[in-house]
């Protein structure tokens, strides 16, 4: 319940954060809201020697309408996404999903950047980023680069971020098709999704159906070929490899993926 000892460093600017990260090397981790990292540290599953607190980088907390896309600072909290009038109008899927992360206390601290950079296939926002065809903007010692969400999630808790690279912005194109749905299946409301399905228009992403968040390619292809929701949803488990764990067996997860995809597609269609 008590983290192993570490040194705390506070960054006043993005530049300073990058410098501190370079200095700390592989002993260092960024600390944003801390609600992915600190729980791991408290159980001593993660033992970074240096924590670089980027939580006060106010310049990374914003939600802006930028002409064709919405730009969201990586340090924007789930709470702010949930209550954003701009998102309610332009990206209701994101506002809604952010409002389902954890509980209210978690949402007052956790950030979209922290969640996406953590790369947990069981978290909601990575899948949402996929469904929204987001672009992740990262800054490192050698400058800025843009990474498509479809290239971002590499493996179990592994993203495309290089050591020391800082996620600064999540850029989301305004969806051409407005229908959306977010189906998060849990036993208790506060649980991580046993399985989740995220739909925006013709894009379908899955939560907790493998070691990475993923798009349901089979479903998308069927939809593009004109299949109805139920027929398209029959492909939901294709290409996935859900674990069998305390939450569910593989077979049950695959079944849920199909059921939730059917419901998500129907709900999205009703919102078109």
């Amino acid at each position: 319940m008590i983290p192993a000892p570490f040194s705390y460093r506070r960054a006043g600017t993005v530049e300073e954060a990058l410098d501190l990260a370079t200095e700390a090397g592989e002993d260092g981790k960024y600390l944003a809201g801390g609600h992915s990292l600190l729980p791991l540290m408290k159980l001593r599953f993660a033992v970074p020697e240096v924590l670089i607190d980027i939580g006060r980088l106010a310049e990374l907390s914003y939600i802006r309408d930028e002409d064709g896309h919405i730009a969201i600072g990586a340090l924007t909290r789930h709470h702010d996404l949930e209550y954003s009038a701009l998102l309610a109008a332009e990206l209701p899927l994101l506002a809604h999903a952010a409002g389902r992360v954890g509980d209210p206390q978690v949402r007052h601290r956790g950030t979209i950047g922290g969640s996406v950079a953590h790369g947990d296939a069981a978290s909601d926002l990575p899948a949402v980023a996929l469904a929204l065809d987001a672009t992740l903007v990262a800054r490192g010692p050698s400058g800025s680069r843009e990474i498509a969400a479809t290239e971002f999630f590499r493996g179990l808790f592994e993203t495309a971020l290089e050591p020391g690279e800082l996620l600064t912005e999540i850029r989301i194109p305004k969806p051409a098709r407005r229908g959306w749905s977010f189906q998060k299946f849990t036993k208790r409301a506060i649980d991580w999704a046993i399985v989740g399905v995220v739909v925006q228009g013709g894009r379908v992403a899955l939560v907790n159906m493998g070691s990475v968040p993923m798009r349901a390619a089979g479903v998308e292809q069927a939809l593009a070929a004109g299949a109805g929701p139920a027929d398209a949803a029959a492909h939901a488990a294709e290409g996935t490899n859900p674990v069998a764990d305390l939450g569910a067996s593989t077979a049950y997860r695959e079944h849920l993926a199909r059921v939730l995809t059917t419901r998500a597609l129907a709900e999205a269609a009703s919102r078109n």
């Binding site: 983290p3 000892p5 729980p39 408290k42 159980l43 209210p104 206390q105 978690v106």
Partner: protein
């Protein structure tokens, strides 16, 4: 490292370990033990305080992160004249506590909930308190307490 945190309006400064959790800062450094620790996975909410007016689980915030900010705990809910906050009144009137261990955190979560949603439905209260576990009450009277607090007004206005 040195931190300075305003706790219930009082400035508390101390030299602390970098890894000190805000929950322990409140309990051990500021000496306010109403805020309790009930788990180690950010699940139970017993440690909930307000950080700059918003509910957070103080076990998952470093004191360092709260440095220079304002923390409100259960002990800071009542008015300066001792007048109970509407949430406190509600919890008493509706028997919303039994052993009392989850109560400070539950009340702070409720205060934050009502600040963001002054007129919640029963369902919104239950969802709003999803981050707080109570083992004694079955939540029935906690929900009534929060709804009563919502009905009966804002802090320091109604006679108790």
């Amino acid at each position: 490292m040195k931190v300075a945190i305003s706790v219930n309006g009082r400035q508390v400064e101390a030299e602390v370990e970098d890894r000190l959790l805000l929950a322990h800062f409140v309990r051990e450094v500021a000496g306010l033990t109403a805020t309790n620790i009930g788990c180690d996975t950010t699940s139970c909410g017993a440690c909930t305080v307000l950080l700059d007016g918003e509910s957070v689980k103080s076990c998952t915030v470093l004191a360092a992160q709260a440095d220079g900010h304002e923390v409100t705990t259960c002990e800071g809910l009542a008015g300066a004249d001792g007048q109970w906050h509407a949430v406190q009144q509600g919890f008493h009137a509706e028997h919303g506590l039994q052993c009392g261990f989850c109560t400070p955190g539950m009340m702070m979560a409720a205060v934050s909930l009502l600040a963001e949603n002054p007129n919640p439905t029963e369902e919104e209260v239950r969802t709003g308190l999803e981050g707080n576990i109570c083992r004694c009450t079955g939540y029935h009277n906690i929900v009534r307490a929060v709804l009563a607090a919502a009905r009966d007004g804002q802090p320091a206005q109604e006679a108790s």
